[in-house]
Symmetry: C2
Subunit: 208 residues, 2 copies
């Protein structure tokens, strides 16, 4: 089946929908109207109906949306039916904190490798994973099929570590370091940077 | 002068350009070609030339770009000629770490207020700012003209705290909590969520 093209904003919302819908299912819900979902999700009913229509679920009049079906569809669209292994580089501060804070317990993702350059941290166990030296990235990831990397090292280290991840086969990187990294065309990079988002926010505030 | 409409991706890159250009100026540079800038910035020369053309600087053949002029233009476009005050809600973990990690020392932004609900933290000084109880948000921000808020409280508190920030006059919120918040139309919300970005990354990896 040919899939519709999803707007980027809808794709970004999907993982949050997934988390909220899973929570509702755990609470014993199985169907909810867009109005009920709106209250729980904090998203306007019109936006919910539009987003959910992309997921192939238009709801049933008077009954609402089948939550299990929505979860199945979103997992399928995002290719989360398989488990995605993640290598984290830089666990000394934000790498670790952000994972904890963001309730990183969503099915579909698993942190399997961790790296740092701080000798004090190398050998430690973080979230069940042994921390290795960043110089070990290629050795450790070789043959492991790790496609995702989370780059949380200081800006000055970011490019070298990103290159190592790519050499080790990583195809997608979340870059938390406040610096651009220039990687081969077939590697996707998502920049998560507070100053970028603040700048964008101020631009929109003063131009709307 | 009528400004061109900037692509969202260009707006996101501007604060990082600004930071890098400021660093180059401190290093004593005043003009650089797009090739030299490309090496320093980690952005392809074609993209630099396209982005910079939006900023009104097309460079001078054989000489390159005037860095001070670029910085002036970007600051002007992003409205960073004024100082933007920021209230941070939730400083116990990621709120604080992310600020440190992201080298939050960019001119244009200043954290002036901090809030938390943890009695252990209330009264402490974080980055020169006294931490107040989240219930004090409206009192403390009254008349201060704070337009930006950074929401780093746990998901379960996020909506209540966001409402307080808006009641206190905040018009733009960076939401680090992994939950949607539904605010009045005239409030801009930027969601910074790791699972959203991971989901988006996987979607693009498997659909490109």
């Amino acid at each position: 089946m040919e899939r519709p093209k999803f707007p980027d904003e809808t794709i970004r919302r999907m993982p949050l929908y997934l988390r909220c819908l899973n929570r509702l299912i755990i609470l014993g819900k199985d169907t909810l109207t867009s109005k009920e979902l709106s209250e729980f999700l904090g998203v306007k009913p019109t936006k919910i109906r539009k987003d959910f229509s992309y997921f192939g679920d238009f709801g049933t009049r008077g009954v609402g949306y089948d939550l299990n079906n929505l979860v199945r569809e979103i997992r399928n669209i995002l290719n989360l039916d398989q488990e995605w292994k993640i290598a984290v580089a830089g666990i000394s501060n934000v790498g670790c904190t952000i994972l904890d804070h963001l309730e990183f317990n969503q099915p579909g993702f698993q942190i399997t490798h961790a790296f740092d350059q701080d000798p004090e941290l190398i050998g430690d166990t973080v979230r069940g994973v042994t921390v290795h030296d960043v110089t070990e990235i290629e050795n450790q990831l070789s043959g492991e099929g790790i496609q995702l990397g989370l780059l949380a090292v200081p800006a000055i280290e970011a490019r070298g570590v990103a290159d190592s991840l790519v050499d080790a086969g990583v195809k997608g990187i979340i870059n938390l370091a406040p610096i651009f990294i220039d990687l081969p065309e077939d590697v996707e990079v998502v920049q998560m940077d507070l100053s970028s988002e603040l700048g964008r926010l101020v631009y929109h505030l003063t131009n709307s």
